[in-house]
Structure formats: C-alpha cells, structure tokens
Symmetry: C2
Subunit: 417 residues, 2 copies
C-alpha cells in the first residue's frame, strides 16, 4: 500500500475510512468511495521529474500516486500495461474547424479496451491482500481485462456478463480460461448477482464503481494524456504535464470519466498543471439514466432499462454516477446524448478520417465532439482529447452495419477503375 494513501472518502457523507477497514462502498450510506492521498506532502516532496524521467513506460511509472505496490511480474502484460498512444486527427480538425483534436487510444491496451487500467489496479490490490479469486460483473470489456491479466498468475477470474454480450467480447473472456456466467437480464442484474456471489463465497469484487480501486487505475489515463501533451510542446516539455481544454468521454457507469477527471484533478492539486480541462460526457440515448440526472441538476438516478447497441455504455443505472456528474459540472462541461445511428455513423467517421476502428460505445466520443462544438462547449481554438475506450473488433456486427458492403467479383471484368 502507498504510505501516502490517507483513506477512502465517501462521496455522499464525506466520512473517510481507513483503506484496510473498508473494501467497497461506504458502510453508512453505500456511497462510492474516493481514495485520498496526502497531497500537501506529495506537492512539497514529490518531484514530477521522478515520474516523467522514469524509463518504465507503463502506468506503474505513476506509482507514487497509486494506492498499491506495482506487481512483481517483469515484462508481462500486467506489468507493461499503459502507455497507449495519443494520436492526432488532422482530418477531423479540418472538417470540424477545431484547433487540435487528439485521440487517446486505449483500444491498444492488451485486452483492447480502457478497462485494463482498472483491472490492473484491482489485481495488484488483490495480490497485496493475498486474495485468490476475483469476480466482476461487466458488459464485456472489464471482464476481458480481468481474465487476460489474471492469466499466468495464480489468480482465478470469475465473470458475470449479461447474455446480450457481443460474441467477440465473450470470446475474449473465455479464451483466457476465466469461469464465465451469462446472466439472463441486464448489466445491472449481473452486477447484483456478482455482489451476491462475492458476499456468499468471499471473492474479491472488481465491479466498476463498487470497488474504489477501479477509479485509481482509470486516473492513469489522465496522467498519460497530460504527460503526452507536454512532450509534444517543446516550450513546456520541462514542466512534465499539460492539460488540454476539453476531454470527451463516453459515460455508462460514469467510472471512466470520474477516473480520467481524477487524474487531472490530482495533477492540478499538485500544481503540475495550470488549469482543469472541461469534461464532456456522452451517453447513449437509449440508456438515459445519467442524462436525466444531469438535466435534473441533482444527483439522483432512476433505474431505466437500457436498449442501446452500445454494449459498453448500456447501463440501466450508473454505478459511479455522482462522481461523474461532479466531474462534468465542476469543470463547466456538458453531457450530450448519442443515438445508436449516430454512434454507427461515428464509427465510420473515426475509421475513415482518423484511421481508428472502435466499438459503438467508444465512437460516442466523436458524437460528443460534434455536439460539443455545436452547443459551444468546444470553441475553434480549443485543444480537445477524445478518450477512446474499446476496439471495433469487440463488436463486429455493429461494424458491418456501419460500413459499406463488399463487392463480389469473378474476374477483372467486374472490377471498376
């Protein structure tokens, strides 16, 4: 455990619990917990160059700001995780009239989604605690990340996914030897069953939002974006970190946006970046619980059955909604909705203009770019980062719906110049 980890603070009642006393949500009111560090001490004694000059390109380079000890498994996918590329999309900049559009491509992590970051942190925590079985409820990506990173260790992964999980996501979980249960019902039904199983059998629960360490893994994407942007800018390369103007993140449980936001917030508290970026959350129009809470101005969430094709953000009720809303509101950001058709169109736009192939839930970030520009949260002179969350190979059926059809040919006579 990091000696500067002070405790886990409830997002609702504000109580801070010692990390070894509480495992999941707040015992008083079930609020999501946020890991709190001794930022005053870190700001005074931690030199950012101790991080930016670290030759280790993995997310473990940020160990002084992580809750756990990096796992001792040199050169494995678990140890080498992180350092996904930050691409630029000049064709999108020209088309939309925006100064700079970057894409943080987490579809390039080992199990092809952002969720590897959270699984790595939970696995490291399980190793610290001597736990042997980790369980997760997932729409697919978190499960694949857990299954892949447990491979080759002595940890067993147990998975609960809704039966509507796309075939490719299921394959990417099963192949790693995890025990996989398909649950009749929604993602939130799988969450409930995983929680019951963990209580019954003493397994460690990695489920998103419920386990406070997931956000600690996800914040590393914010660290990496800020470090990669500083490196592009010769005048500021010395400072080590630089914030963009806007970050756009698809929202299902809200845990990715609260995580990336936390990464920037910690850098800001340490005085390593000068301002916070505005956060734009993009939800599926057919999974409207989060969007309605945003519109209400409050922090209450209804449970509303989701029907979107975007499996990665198809939640009936967000598991980390409060912290996500606060990330967006506190930075002057916005929430926009994406229809299924808009996400399919966005998959095609990102693939044809920016060369990245992502799943529908991830393509929602592009919809956020277009709509954020339209409503004025993104201006001409802004530098924007799209957080890409999952590979298009995770949902081939949607890709085939989004793309043109191939042309069958028999001979050269059928080929057009």
């Amino acid at each position: 455990m990091n000696p500067y980890l002070i405790g886990l603070r409830c997002s609702l009642c504000g109580t801070t619990h010692a990390p070894d006393e509480v495992t999941y949500t707040c015992p008083k009111d079930n609020g999501n917990l946020d890991a709190i560090y001794d930022y005053a001490h870190l700001a005074r004694y931690l030199d950012p160059r101790a991080i930016t000059h670290n030759p280790d390109r993995s997310l473990w380079r940020y160990a002084p700001l992580l809750p756990v000890v990096p796992p001792a498994a040199p050169h494995t996918p678990l140890a080498a995780l992180g350092g996904s590329p930050l691409y630029r999309a000049p064709a999108l900049e020209r088309a939309l009239g925006i100064r700079a559009v970057w894409m943080k491509d987490d579809s390039r992590l080992p199990s092809s989604s952002f969720k590897d970051r959270a699984s790595a942190m939970v696995i490291a925590r399980a190793m610290e605690m001597g736990i042997k079985t980790i369980c997760v409820a997932s729409t697919g990506n978190a499960a694949a990340a857990l299954a892949a990173l447990c491979a080759g260790t002595d940890l067993q992964a147990v998975i609960f996914v809704p039966e509507s999980t796309p075939e490719a996501k299921l394959a990417g979980i099963l192949i790693h030897g995890a025990r996989v249960y398909t649950v009749r019902g929604s993602y939130n039904d799988a969450v409930a069953l995983a929680e019951a199983a963990c209580r019954e059998f003493g397994w460690y629960n990695r489920s998103t939002g419920f386990n406070p360490y997931t956000r600690e893994g996800k914040k590393t994407a914010g660290f990496e974006i800020a470090e990669q942007l500083a490196r592009q800018d010769a005048r500021r390369a010395d400072s080590g970190f630089r914030a963009p103007d806007v970050v756009i993140v698809p929202v299902g449980d809200g845990n990715i946006i609260s995580g990336v936001h936390k990464g920037f917030r910690e850098l800001h508290m340490l005085g390593w970046i000068e301002h916070m970026p505005r956060f734009i959350g993009v939800t599926a129009a057919l999974a409207p619980s989060f969007y309605r809470a945003w519109q209400s101005g409050g922090e209450q969430f209804e449970t509303i059955p989701s029907q979107t094709i975007a499996s990665g953000i198809g939640t009936d009720r967000p598991c980390d909604g409060v912290m996500a809303l606060r990330a967006i509101r506190s930075t002057g950001g916005a929430v926009v909705e994406a229809t299924d058709e808009e996400m399919l169109d966005a998959m095609r736009k990102l693939a044809t203009r920016a060369g990245v192939f992502v799943e529908p839930a991830c393509a929602a970030a592009y919809v956020g770019l277009v709509k954020g520009r339209h409503i004025g949260v993104i201006g001409n002179d802004d530098e924007v980062v799209l957080q890409l969350t999952g590979s298009g190979f995770k949902d081939v059926r949607s890709a085939l719906r989004a793309a043109d059809k191939p042309i069958r040919v028999e001979s050269l006579a059928d080929v057009q110049p």
Copy 2:
C-alpha cells in the same frame, strides 16, 4: 528515397536493379527483389546511438536503414506506428523448461496485426512516387493495415480478399472506407486478380512478397526485438542491440520470416549484434506448399490448395518462399507444421498462460515453440522470441471453438463457489 539504398537485387538471378527502374519483381525471371543498402558506408559512419537515442518510439526511428522518407503526418497512426511490446511469458518458460520465452506482440499495432509495418512502408513509397491508389490482395490483415493507414490521407485503398475471409477481418477493412472486392477462390486467386487490376488501371500493388517494400517494413520488427532485448540487459544496454538465440515465425507467404530475418541480418552486417538467431518457421499442416519445399531441400514450390482455418497463413503457394527458406536454412533453423487442432489448442495456451489473445495463424508460433523444443532446435538455455502476428479478435469463431463454453445462470443457486 534513402541515399544509401543501392538497388533491388533479384533473389534468383542476382541482378541488381535501380529502385526507380523496377517496381515489383525481377523483369528477367520474376524473382523476389531484395533492397540492398551501402552497408560498408553505413557500418563506418552510422552510429547506432543515433537510432537508439531517438525519442521517436515509432518504426521511423530506423529511417537510416529504411528505403523511404518517413511520411509527414505527425502523431497519426501512420507516423506513430511500431514500438509494439515485447512481453515475457514466465509460465511458458516453467512449463516447457526454456530459459527465456519472449513474445513480440504485433497484435497491438493500430490495425491489430503485424501487417501494419509493411503497409506503412508501401504507403510512404506511394507518397514519394505521387501515386493515389494502392491495391492489395490479402488474407485480411494486410488489407486492414492498408485501409486503416490510408484513412485520413488522400490515398485510396482497393482490396481483394478471398470470400472465405473471416467476418471480423472484413469488418476491419470495410469500416475504413476502402473499396473491397471479395474473390471467389483462394488467396492466390485474389493475388492474381489484384495483379491484373494493377496492370490494367495503373494502381500501385502492395501485395506481399510481390512488392519489395513490404519486407522493408517487416524487418523493423527484427530491429525492435534486438533493441528491446538489449534494453532489458543492463550489462549490454550500451551496445544498443542484442540478438536472441531463436526466433519463431508463422509462415504463409514467407514474407514475415524473411523480413524479421532481414532485420537481424542487417544489424549483423553492421556489426551491431554478435550472432544471428536461428529461425523456426511454422506452417499450417493444411497449407503444405512451403513445408514440402523445405523437406525437398530445394527452392521449388508446388501449388497445393490450402484448407486450414488459419486464414493468415492459408496460402496455396508462398509469394516470398525462396527468401524465407534461405532465412531458415542459413541460420540452422527448422520448419515445423501445425495442425488446425494444434493451433486452436495453442490459442488457448497462449491466452491462459501468457495473457495474449491471438488468431490461429499467430498461435502457430506456440506450436513451433513446443515442436522446436522437441526436435532440439531449441535447448534449455535458449532465449526464444515468438513473433505474434495477429489479434484473436480477428477470428472470433476460432476463439469460441478453442475456449470453454459459458455457463447460463438464473440466480445465485446456479453459481459454484
């Protein structure tokens, strides 16, 4: 063009042609051409640290040893390509009794296969020549690599794939807006049709082996492996490059093994590594043309219809067979065959023990590890590198065949502790 590129030498007759005089194979005898540099000059004047100290982590860091000028498209997938991770697999080392087993994971490149390396080089060459349409015949991966890397440029990709191409590979091509023709027949039929179309319409042909620049892209994997191994070894980190004892590569056309071999051969000629690794080629038992040529001791290839599930190496006749055979024979390596069932089992072994999820053609490298150990080409004390060539998400149907089935549950009563 690189000023130290002397010419393109025929693998059969040995004639060296000027690079601007010949585009594809040898005009005399149709032999594959090999790009030749002024190695004597480079050995004298090129400091390896000019490469190893380059902050650019992409394959363009090797520009002094590449035929073309790096494309001017900062931070795009095309410009950022390369630098795939080199993982270690301690569980495989223990299970097989081998000192060191590494995996060069090119499934992590932008279009999720090794073929990005070759497409990048051909695209850069097309840009130098002012060509606007690039065509390729492919079993799927080379096509996806071309389509993805042409996105956002003003280049148009035209693709020919056999109609048996797995759905996911097709989706990964179509989504990028390439024009895709599915050809009734085999990969080699697609190769023939692409060649005819290029002749007819003046398109630039990227087809593997036929275009000599594909090998120039692929050799960068050899450079990266040698550089990454040296970095792991504190005593030798200064020398910049280090060769393993054995490199294992799946063989379809033979162009990947001839490419990776060329990377090591150039480092050896420059005096930057002390020895050449032994190369083990792994073919599909149901695509036996290359294996029979290996067994015959000669360099003649029969055309034999392929029927393997391993689409990536399902060739009737290898397009770069001669150079591949020489790479293996000249280093004291071997060729072994993998059955479809062995490849499915290997997918599962790599996924459960090493955490990597790869397609059947790629999993063949693991079969090569086991069989190479068995026949003595790999010893206890060897350091072995498996070249991973394509993601398991490219062929989900095979993954579902290789993996256990999920368990359907209704309630906690159905869950086992």
